[in-house]
Symmetry: C2
Subunit: 154 residues, 2 copies
């Protein structure tokens, strides 16, 4: 559950200049990197990142299947977006939808062989961008430091 940010008290914010600068850089850096991944995938005629995220969650899960709401919790997708994204994945035979025995409302989404194969074709593209735009520009210490700072924001 996310913190309820809709009830914050709105006083005139007194933020340090440096905070705003760093925040802006964080947003810009992240969007730029994501954008590079997306462009690389498109150039390789592969589906968008959202597909990768969902398929990866499924492949990580025991049995290669998850309830839809579990995928949503992991990927931060809303339920209606997920519903339609799974439609698209299903249409491409990358996942199957099965009725759920324990809960008559829901369904289990399972990744197919075609789905895992797609994952394997996407990873080199995704990973190459990560390697060259992210890992290679930072030291191992940088990455650890970054991890520790980000942890405080979770």
């Amino acid at each position: 559950m996310q913190p309820d940010v809709t009830r914050l008290v709105f006083m005139k914010p007194r933020l340090r200049e440096q905070t705003v600068t760093t925040w802006a850089r964080l947003v810009r850096t992240e969007t730029t990197l994501i954008d590079q991944v997306q462009r690389a995938l498109k150039a390789a005629k592969l589906p968008p990142l959202g597909w990768y995220d969902v398929l990866l969650e499924l492949r990580r899960a025991p049995g290669g299947e998850l309830r839809q709401y579990e995928i949503g919790a992991q990927t931060l997708l809303t339920k209606y977006n997920l519903s339609r994204l799974v439609d698209r994945l299903q249409r491409e035979a990358l996942v199957e939808r099965h009725a759920c025995a324990e809960d008559g409302r829901g369904n289990l989404v399972r990744i197919t062989t075609a789905g895992t194969e797609l994952l394997q074709r996407m990873w080199p593209v995704y990973g190459a961008v990560l390697e060259q735009q992210f890992e290679s520009r930072l030291s191992a210490d940088d990455i650890l430091a970054l991890e520790n700072i980000l942890k405080k924001l979770g």
Copy 2:
């Protein structure tokens, strides 16, 4: 100009485990924070973040006006998205479009009084989230360290 990520050599990526973990956390943290800002704005019946970004760029610019492509370069918006976003802002009288004297193709976008007023109403909401979800969770040193790491990724 962005690095051309569409011609990378795709070998089997050999990324350190830690790199992938940190990358995942970076993406998740940033999207969560942006999402919190968006929800706070919506709860306050204010327009989305994209409007803020454009209006802020304009207010920062000398004379409160910029060419459309200049806004695009700052905000990472594509030209067609920007074209329509400026349409919407114009419809709400937050900006004006003027023909550009030096370049007959383009136009100058200028922020209006209503536009700056909107900025002033949005900032407390935006800033409050930043203060409570970002600044208050990090030390000044953390923020500086974060800045320096992110700089290497630009």
